[in-house]
C-alpha cells in the first residue's frame, strides 16, 4: 500500500477517452504491479497429479521476462483447447458470434471505471479472445484479417490474456446490461482454462485450490489447527457472553452440516461472523456439525477450471453422506453461492445420499422449497425465516452505535438474486440502515475488485482502481448519513473491502451479517453483555 498514490491523485489519472492507436497495436504492459505472482512450481505439480488434464508446464517463470517458457506446441494447445470449448459451451460459441459492439457494457466494469484502460471495457476484454476466434476459426477472418477484427495467435496475445483475464473478477455486471446477455465471466473462465493448459497461472488461485484439495480449505488449515481455532472462538464467546457454546466437528448423526468459507475461521473480521453463526445455533439449539474435511464453502475451482470446481465441490455431499446429515446450511460467501446456486447440483447432485432430504427449518417448520434439489440453504434465508417466525430475541440497543449500509456481493446478486433476505435480517438487528445510491446496489452492485482470486496485495493498484465505484458509493453514504459500517455476506468482501474502505472511505468498519446478528442476539442464560464480538465496549459501557 505504501506505493499507492492518494485517491484524488489517482482520480486525476483516469480518462475515458481511448488512445489514438488501435487496441491491437497497444503493447501489453507486463511490468510488476500488472499481474499477480505466478503459481509455485510444487503447487502446479501437486495439482497436475491430483486433477489430471487441467494444469501443465510447472516451472519457475516471471511475467516480466520476455520468455515465459511456454511449451513448444503452445499454439496448437490453445487452438485445440479453444475449439473443444466452443463445442462444449453454447455460451462461448454464441458470445463469440453475436456481439454487435453496441458499447452498452463499456462503462459498466469497475476496472474500466477505475482505470480508463480500453481493454478493461468488457466488450474489448471479450474481443481479445474474439479476435483470435475470427482469425483461427472463421473464413472471413482468415482472409480479411485485421479489417474484420481478426488477428493471429501470437505469444503476445497470451500475455495480453494473462494481464486482462486476471483483471476481470467474473462479477457479471456487464452481462446484466448486455442486450444479448453476453457474459464476460464465461469468456474469462474459458481464457483462464486455456492459459492453464500452457502453464500460465497465478499462485493466489492455485495455492488455495491445492490447499482445499488436501486440507479441506483454501487456507491450508489442518484438522487439529481448525479445532484449535474453533475452540479459541468458543472461548471468546464465553468471555463476551459468559456462555460456552458448542461447535461439533466431524461428528456423525447430526441433522445439519454447516459449511462456511474458511476465511471466516482465519482472520479478522471474518472470525466475528463465525462466532455469530455459533451463537445463532446456540440460541435455537440447532442440531448441527461442522467438518474439517469439508471446511471450505468457497471454491477457487470456479476461477480455475470446471473440473477443479466440481472436484472441490464434491466434498460437501461426500461429507454430508459420511456424517449422515439431512441437509447443508451454508455460510456467508459470494462465489460459494454462485457455485451452490448455479453449478452444484448439476455437477454433483448424483452424489447425494438417500439420507438427504428437502431442507426443513427444524425450529419453524418452514420447508425450503427453493433448495429442494440441492438441499443447501443460505444462512441469510435461514435466519430471515427464524426472525419472521419470532424465534430470535434481539436487543437492538447493542448495535445503537452502528450506522450500517449493505454491500451486495456480485455472486449472490447476479448469480442468485438474494437481496431481501439479508436486508430483512439487518433491519431487524439494528435501527440505522442506509442504502448506497441506486445503480450501485442490488443487481447493479459493484464488485470489491478482489473477487475471482484477485484479492492479493501485489496488484493493490489495480484493486484500488477497481474499487473506485464501490468506494465512491460508500463515501457518499458516509458523508450523507454518517455510515460507519458496511455489512456484507461474502468472505472475500470481508478481506478486500477493508483496504478498499481505508483507501476510498476511511473510518468504515466491514462486518459480516451474522456478526451484527449475534451482537444483538439475546442468548438464554447469558450474562449482561458489556462488549461486542470485537470486544469493544457496547454503547453505554464506554466508560468502564
Amino acid at each position: 500500500m505504501s506505493k499507492m498514490v492518494k485517491p484524488d491523485e489517482l482520480l486525476k489519472t483516469i480518462s475515458y477517452t481511448p488512445p489514438a492507436e488501435g487496441w491491437m497495436d497497444l503493447p501489453v504492459n507486463t511490468s510488476p504491479g500488472n499481474w499477480a505472482y505466478p503459481a509455485k512450481q510444487d503447487k502446479v505439480e501437486y495439482l497436475m497429479h491430483e486433477m489430471p488434464g487441467i494444469f501443465a508446464n510447472p516451472r519457475q517463470w516471471n511475467p516480466e521476462d520476455v520468455d515465459w517458457k511456454l511449451p513448444s506446441n503452445w499454439k496448437e494447445i490453445v487452438v485445440n483447447g479453444f475449439r473443444e470449448r466452443l463445442d462444449k459451451y453454447r455460451s462461448l460459441k454464441l458470445f463469440m458470434d453475436i456481439c454487435v459492439r453496441c458499447g452498452a457494457c463499456a462503462d459498466k466494469c469497475h476496472f474500466f471505471i477505475g482505470s480508463g484502460d480500453p481493454k478493461n471495457m468488457p466488450v474489448l476484454r471479450a474481443e481479445l479472445m474474439r479476435s483470435i476466434y475470427r482469425g483461427e476459426f472463421t473464413t472471413a477472418g482468415k482472409i480479411l484479417g485485421k479489417l474484420t477484427g481478426a488477428r493471429v495467435l501470437e505469444e503476445d496475445v497470451l500475455k495480453e490474456w494473462f494481464i486482462y483475464f486476471y483483471q476481470c473478477t467474473e462479477c457479471r455486471r456487464c452481462s446484466l446490461y448486455c442486450p444479448y446477455g453476453i457474459d464476460t465471466a464465461e469468456v474469462t473462465m474459458m481464457a483462464r482454462e486455456l492459459l492453464h493448459l500452457c502453464g500460465i497461472n497465478i499462485n493466489w488461485i492455485l495455492e488455495p485450490v491445492s490447499n482445499c484439495n488436501r486440507t479441506g480449505n483454501h487456507l491450508g488449515i489442518q484438522p487439529h489447527a481448525f479445532k484449535d481455532i474453533v475452540e479459541f472462538m468458543v472461548d471468546d464467546i464465553e468471555t463476551i457472553t459468559g456462555k460456552r457454546v458448542k461447535c461439533p466437528l466431524n461428528e456423525k448423526g447430526h441433522e445439519v452440516l454447516f459449511i462456511t468459507p474458511s476465511g471466516d475461521a482465519f482472520a479478522d473480521p471474518g472470525i466475528y461472523t463465525f462466532m455469530g453463526y455459533l451463537m445463532l445455533f446456540d440460541a435455537i439449539g440447532l442440531d448441527f456439525t461442522m467438518s474439517t474435511y469439508a471446511s471450505e464453502g468457497g471454491n477457487f475451482g470456479l476461477f480455475t477450471h470446471a473440473d477443479a470446481m466440481k472436484s472441490i465441490n464434491g466434498k460437501m455431499y461426500a461429507e454430508a453422506n459420511r456424517l449422515g446429515c439431512k441437509w447443508i446450511l451454508g455460510g456467508e460467501c459470494g462465489h460459494m453461492w454462485r457455485v451452490v446456486n448455479q453449478y452444484m447440483d448439476t455437477m454433483n447432485g448424483n452424489m447425494q445420499g438417500p439420507q438427504m432430504k428437502t431442507p426443513v427449518n427444524p425450529i419453524t417448520g418452514t420447508v425450503f422449497e427453493n433448495a429442494k434439489q440441492t438441499k443447501m440453504v443460505h444462512i441469510a434465508e435461514f435466519t430471515a425465516d427464524l426472525i419472521k417466525h419470532g424465534k430470535l430475541k434481539f436487543d437492538k440497543s447493542r448495535n445503537a452505535n452502528v450506522v450500517a449500509t449493505f454491500h451486495d456481493s456480485c455472486n449472490t446478486a447476479r448469480g442468485m438474486g438474494m437481496f431481501e433476505e439479508p436486508r430483512y435480517v439487518l433491519k431487524n438487528v439494528l435501527d440505522n440502515f442506509h442504502e448506497m445510491p441506486e445503480g450501485t446496489i442490488r443487481e447493479q452492485t459493484f464488485c470489491c475488485a478482489g473477487g475471482s482470486g484477485l484479492n492479493t496485495d501485489e496488484i493493490m493498484d489495480i484493486r484500488m482502481r477497481g474499487g473506485l465505484p464501490r468506494g465512491n458509493a460508500l463515501k457518499h453514504v458516509v458523508d450523507k448519513h454518517g455510515v460507519n459500517t458496511m455489512a456484507c455476506v461474502c468472505a472475500i468482501d470481508r478481506a478486500t473491502l477493508i483496504p478498499l474502505a481505508d483507501y476510498w472511505a476511511p473510518g468504515v468498519n466491514i462486518t459480516g451479517l451474522h456478526e451484527l446478528v449475534a451482537n444483538a442476539l439475546v442468548l438464554d442464560g447469558e450474562e449482561e453483555r458489556t462488549m461486542n464480538l470485537r470486544q469493544e465496549p457496547l454503547p453505554g459501557f464506554e466508560e468502564e
Binding site: 462444449k88 456481439c99 459492439r101 458499447g103 457479471r172 488436501r214 489442518q222 448439476t346 427453493n370 434439489q373
Partner: protein, 340 residues
C-alpha cells in the same frame, strides 16, 4: 478508416448494380438470379447457424439474475428479472426480445474531477441507445411487413392496414411513411454514435459499419425510388410475383434505382448469416437469459458431465492427518491402531 472502407464497399455495390442492370442490361440476372441466390444463402445460412448453436450443450444453468430470487413465501420474487419457472422465463425473454429490457437498464458513468475535493462517480440514466434501437428495429420490421404487399396477391388486409397506418400522416405525394423517417433516424443515430462516441468508435470494426451503411443504402435507395424516381410499382410487383411463383418475365421499363435497392437487399441477405446480424437469432439462445434460475429446485443435466471427476476422498484425508486428528480428539473412521 474502418468506416470509410465500409462506405466504399457499399458504394461499390451500388455501382455494380447501376452498371450491371443499367448499362450492361443484365436485368434478368439482377432481378431474379442474384436475389434468388441471396435468399437461399440467407435461409440455409441462418438455419445452419441456429442449428450449430442449438446443438451445442448448455452444461450449466447460468442466468444473470436481475432481481429478487424465489425464496421464502413472504419475500416477493421478481419473476420477470429472476424467473424460476418456464412461463416466467418466457416472460423474461419476451421483454428482452420485444422491449429490449436489458438495454433499457443502460446507464452512463460520469466522473467529475473537482480538484479532488469531492470526487464523484455518478451513474446517470442513458436511454438514448435503447430508444433509437427500438425505433430502428421496429421500423425495419414494419417496412419488411409493408413490402409483403409486393409478394402477395391479393394483398391481405393486415398488410393493407399496416400500410395505411404507416402513411397516416398524409404529407407529401406519395404520402410519406413514418417508418421511413424513423428508420433513417435510427440508422443515423447508430452511425453517429460510432463516429462521435470515442469509446464506441474505438471498438467499431468494418463488421459494425458495413451493415449500417448497407441498411442506410437500402433505405435511401428505397426512398429515392418512391419519392424521387416514382418507380412503376405495378411493374415491380410483376417482377416480384414472377420471382415468387417461378414465372420469370423479362422486366422492362423499371427504373435502375430498383435494381440498386434489390441488389443491396440481396447483399444484406447473403451477408446476414455470417455476420453479427445473427444476434437476431442468437438472442433467443443466450444462456444467461433463456434459463430459469432454478438449479437449487430442479436437477439440470450436463451432457458432458465427467463422472470420473471426484473429490479428494475423506479416507485419503484421514490417512494424511490421522495422527494429529487423533491427538486433537477429533472423531476418526479408523483409529491409528486399525489403520496400522
Amino acid at each position: 478508416m474502418n468506416a470509410i472502407f465500409s462506405l466504399i464497399l457499399v458504394l461499390a455495390l451500388v455501382v455494380v448494380a447501376t452498371l450491371g442492370a443499367g448499362a450492361a442490361k443484365m436485368q434478368t440476372i439482377f432481378a431474379y438470379c442474384i436475389p434468388g441466390t441471396a435468399f437461399v444463402i440467407f435461409l440455409v445460412g441462418f438455419t445452419c447457424k441456429i442449428i450449430g448453436w442449438a446443438k451445442r450443450p448448455v452444461p450449466f444453468r447460468i442466468p444473470t439474475t436481475g432481481g429478487q430470487q424465489q425464496s421464502l413465501d413472504w419475500i416477493p420474487q421478481n419473476k420477470w428479472d429472476n424467473p424460476s419457472t418456464g412461463p416466467q422465463t418466457v416472460m423474461r425473454m419476451l421483454l428482452e426480445v420485444l422491449a429490449f429490457r436489458s438495454l433499457f437498464r443502460n446507464t452512463k458513468v460520469v466522473l467529475k474531477h473537482d480538484d479532488g475535493k469531492n470526487p464523484i462517480v455518478a451513474y446517470v440514466s442513458a436511454k438514448w441507445l435503447w430508444l433509437f434501437a427500438i425505433l430502428f428495429h421496429y421500423s425495419f420490421l414494419i417496412i419488411a411487413v409493408r413490402h409483403m404487399r409486393l409478394f402477395l396477391q391479393p394483398v391481405p388486409f393486415v398488410i393493407q392496414a399496416v400500410d395505411f397506418g404507416d402513411s397516416i400522416l398524409q404529407i407529401l405525394t406519395p404520402t410519406i411513411y413514418i417508418t421511413d423517417v424513423l428508420l433513417l433516424t435510427g440508422v443515423g443515430f447508430l452511425l453517429a454514435r460510432r463516429f462521435f462516441d470515442a469509446k464506441v468508435r474505438y471498438i467499431s470494426l468494418v463488421n459494425d459499419y458495413f451493415p449500417l451503411f448497407l441498411i442506410l443504402g437500402i433505405a435511401l435507395s428505397g426512398v429515392y425510388m418512391r419519392y424521387i424516381a416514382k418507380v412503376d410499382v405495378m411493374g415491380i410487383k410483376d417482377v416480384v410475383m414472377g420471382l415468387v411463383t417461378f414465372n420469370f418475365k423479362v422486366p422492362a421499363g423499371i427504373d435502375v434505382s430498383f435494381y440498386v435497392h434489390l441488389f443491396l437487399v440481396s447483399s444484406l441477405l447473403a451477408y446476414f448469416p455470417f455476420s453479427k446480424l445473427m444476434h437476431m437469432g442468437g438472442v433467443f439462445l443466450s444462456p444467461t437469459r433463456n434459463m430459469p434460475n432454478d438449479t437449487r429446485i430442479h436437477h439440470h443435466e450436463n451432457p458432458w458431465n465427467n463422472p470420473a471427476v471426484k473429490p479428494h476422498s475423506y479416507e485419503a484425508y484421514e490417512d494424511d492427518f490421522r495422527a494429529p486428528m487423533h491427538e486433537a480428539g477429533l472423531p476418526l473412521d479408523k483409529s491409528p491402531e486399525e489403520a496400522a
